[in-house]
């Protein structure tokens, strides 16, 4: 496992994978979009159902990214692996953007469906809180200059957040039933919608993977440059 986690190995491996992942991502996104616009209008939601194909994948990726950060943080804290720090840090801005996309597309869907861009539904609320968790995590990374220290602090925060996230979700659900939320997201999905959705979801995940790799690679190269500069000055 750790064999692939050394920076040189990672550069090689990701260098080989990156073109393919990117290619498949583009293919999946394009075909998913085409499929998406060819579905029949939903009997309840009309054509707005097409929003689902950009909304749900964004939401899924956004949530998985936080889980990835938490896992990377464990690696960072327990095994002190610098690549884990880099990976966690690189995932955060991506996760935040996907969260924002989920929120925006969701509220654009909500307007025709519920008549309001925003309602305090349980799922929406906990999703909004996820965005805040991302922002806090990113802010902490940026605020502490010393890299090792920032990495450790951010890892602790990510884990505290990850432990707390289910509790937050639970509490928000509880709150919502207390106050009788005004809607419930639709449960079952008709098979016609399933294929475009799955394709798009795949596309989003591959896009995330590709961007994640690029960002980790960037950080590795930047680190190399920094240490070169330091050595140059010492001479």
């Amino acid at each position: 496992m750790f064999r692939y986690a050394n920076p040189a190995q990672f550069m090689r491996l990701s260098g080989a994978l990156l073109p393919w992942v990117s290619l498949f991502a583009v293919v999946a996104l394009v075909s998913g979009t085409i499929l998406g616009f060819r579905v029949p209008p939903d009997y309840q939601q009309g054509m707005t159902v097409t929003i689902m194909f950009v909304h749900v994948p964004a939401a899924i990726v956004a949530e998985s990214a936080y889980a990835l950060i938490a896992v990377a943080s464990i690696f960072s804290l327990v095994w002190r692996h610098p690549l884990a720090d880099t990976a966690a840090r690189a995932a955060a801005p991506l996760g935040a953007v996907f969260t924002a996309l989920g929120l925006i597309t969701g509220s654009l869907w909500g307007r025709p469906m519920w008549g309001a861009y925003w309602v305090w539904d349980a799922r929406l609320t906990s999703f909004l809180l996820l965005l805040f968790l991302y922002l806090g995590y990113i802010a902490l990374w940026n605020a502490i200059e010393d890299e090792t220290r920032a990495a450790r602090a951010a890892a602790i925060l990510a884990l505290v957040g990850a432990v707390n996230l289910p509790i937050i979700k639970f509490s928000v659900d509880w709150w919502n039933t207390l106050h009788q939320g005004e809607s419930i997201l639709s449960g079952q999905i008709a098979p016609v919608f399933l294929w475009p959705l799955l394709t798009m979801a795949l596309g989003y995940m591959l896009t995330f993977a590709a961007l994640w790799m690029v960002r980790i690679r960037t950080e590795i190269v930047a680190r190399r440059a920094r240490s070169l500069m330091q050595r140059g000055e010492a001479a």
């Binding site: 616009f37 209008p41 054509m47 929003i51 953007v97 924002a100 925006i104 869907w109 960002r215 960037t218």
Partner: protein, 51 residues
Amino acid sequence: MTSFFAMGGYGAFIWPAYGVSLLGLAAMVWQSWAAWRAAQKRLAALEEDKQ
């Protein structure tokens, strides 16, 4: 064609949703790629300096 863009009257919501998604993805791609290029250039310059 216009009916396609109207999306059964929901075009005003569907197109922005796709637009924003495209924009978001594109922005991430652009930013990540630009940072990668910049880092690479910096490293190359430093390595050249050393020689």
